[in-house]
Symmetry: C2
Subunit: 313 residues, 2 copies
């Protein structure tokens, strides 16, 4: 890999999406850039934070993203092709239950915080309480372009142009195609995670400052309805060695099914491993995967949560 | 593995769930049984069927299941623990788009049928048109107990007691726990599949007659809210070698997101491999996996469809 031709530092960041924001960098197709985003708390949480800091979080400062990057020649209906070249993790991170946020926010009203220290070379899983070993796979939670709609838009929801998609496989080697809605695309990235399961059920992953490098290309007239991506290889082999414990939720509503599957796993883990329920919830968020097992046997669908047995066995 | 002590043949079957139905077999905990279910069409489709037979399908005869099996000592609030011991595939199967059925039924109103011939020892992937190679992993689509609610209930929707769950990982070595609602549990199984992706998006899998063996045990007072299971090892290594093509659907409704992700993949496959859209749809149903990438970044969720690149590369 060639050395990136550009670097964006953590201060070259913004909060929320706004297509009138001035680019901090312009690149030509083929260029690559190294990004140094802050963690999702925007530096509010540190290696010495306590649960009291969760209650004090200023939501106006969360999820800063590095950018915007203007990609020369990008026009509406094109796709920006982003090749994720490398991730250099910092070795620390946090997972929190933030009141009001998360799939089971109604059941977990109190703040909780877990601080992680892990080997930056990812040689070993990260430890969680007595016995939990969480395999790591760094990726960027937020990666996207500016939406066409004028004004300032919250960074929290992902959109057609990407953004806070929290797709756990947007890691090294993945090629992501993002639909362009404005001239130059106006790319930004941040919210890096050391690990996460499909769903990010408690609302946070292993939130961790991670430097990353990406290469930009254009696909003219791609006319994508939504983002798509290609992974360079298997996506679960870092955690699937011993198979899975799986809980299900069955019924006419996918959201209710997902909630039931997660509740079932929290009950199983907290009983079997004598964990607090909120710890089991956070643990599921960083390593368990929500799948839609069937979506056709009307009127009841099956949503399943796959928890990797390698974490405890 | 010990030889199963009991055998149920294809005529020892029933249509729909009804807890007043007389058991065809009573077993003690620890016993195992060999099952010979018919395929999901109940024998209406054969190796020589054509698409015209799809229009003539009698829905009153679909999804016959072997059973019921009365498990001695099973009582409400217990769980029946089913260990899936072995699957012996027949070597042929079918996948259909059945009008009115499937995630995109509105977009695919016409019947379609694909007949499969495959190596019963699963030594090679099953072929689909020019170039498609679908890895196989047999399992039972329908496996469950009789519901407490009196009367006859359609076999199509799965319920708290299991049934037509179509979970692709209910294959060899998996241990499934089913909540008991009536004395004896009244277990039945059928709807065997040679392969399926998470979601079963077109409504059918590789529907294939497959003999299976299962062992029954009891967990007294398990008090499960929904079925759960444990897999003996990785669940995707038969198809993940080359990674995935992934399409997404982003928005406030998981069902709409799933539909968008599947539509995006059908467009990609049909354009790239010059397939009919309905063939791409059926192909996704047998090997692509629907995952919920994030379900917390209110108000927009991300549903992703993972198509294994090994099918074409």
């Amino acid at each position: 890999m060639n050395k990136p031709r550009h670097t964006l530092h953590d201060h070259q960041s913004h909060l929320g999406w706004d297509n009138s924001r001035k680019p901090v960098l312009t690149v030509a197709p083929g260029d690559s850039v190294e990004f140094h985003p802050r963690d999702a708390s925007g530096g509010q949480l540190t290696r010495t934070s306590t649960v009291a800091d969760i209650a004090r979080l200023d939501f106006a400062k969360v999820n800063p993203v590095n950018g915007p990057v203007f990609i020369d020649g990008a026009a509406p209906d094109d796709a920006v092709k982003v090749t994720l070249l490398s991730f250099a993790p910092s070795g620390w991170g946090w997972t929190a239950n933030i009141p009001g946020f998360g799939l089971l926010a109604d059941q977990f009203p109190d703040p909780a915080l877990h601080l992680w220290t892990y080997a930056p070379d990812l040689a070993a899983p990260a430890l969680f309480g007595p016995g939990g070993r969480v395999p790591l796979k760094p990726f960027c939670g937020t990666i996207g372009l500016a939406p066409a709609e004028p004004g300032l838009h919250s960074i929290v929801p992902p959109r057609r142009v990407g953004g806070n998609m929290d797709i756990r496989d947007l890691g090294t080697g993945t090629v992501l195609y993002l639909p362009v809605e404005v001239a130059g695309g106006l790319f930004s990235v941040g919210d890096t995670h050391a690990a996460q399961g499909d769903g990010e059920v408690c609302g946070t992953a292993i939130e961790s400052p991670i430097t990353l490098a990406a290469k930009f290309e254009l696909v003219k007239g791609a006319n994508l309805p939504f983002p798509r991506f290609t992974t360079p290889g298997p996506v679960s082999r870092h955690l699937d060695t011993k198979g899975y414990e799986v809980t299900t939720g069955i019924g006419p509503d996918l959201m209710a099914g997902a909630r039931a599957a997660v509740s079932g796993m929290i009950d199983l883990l907290s009983r079997r491993y004598k964990m607090r329920a909120v710890d089991a919830y956070m643990l599921c968020s960083v390593c368990a995967n929500l799948r839609i097992s069937e979506i056709v046997d009307r009127p009841n669908w099956v949503v399943s949560l796959y928890f990797p047995r390698s974490v405890f066995e």
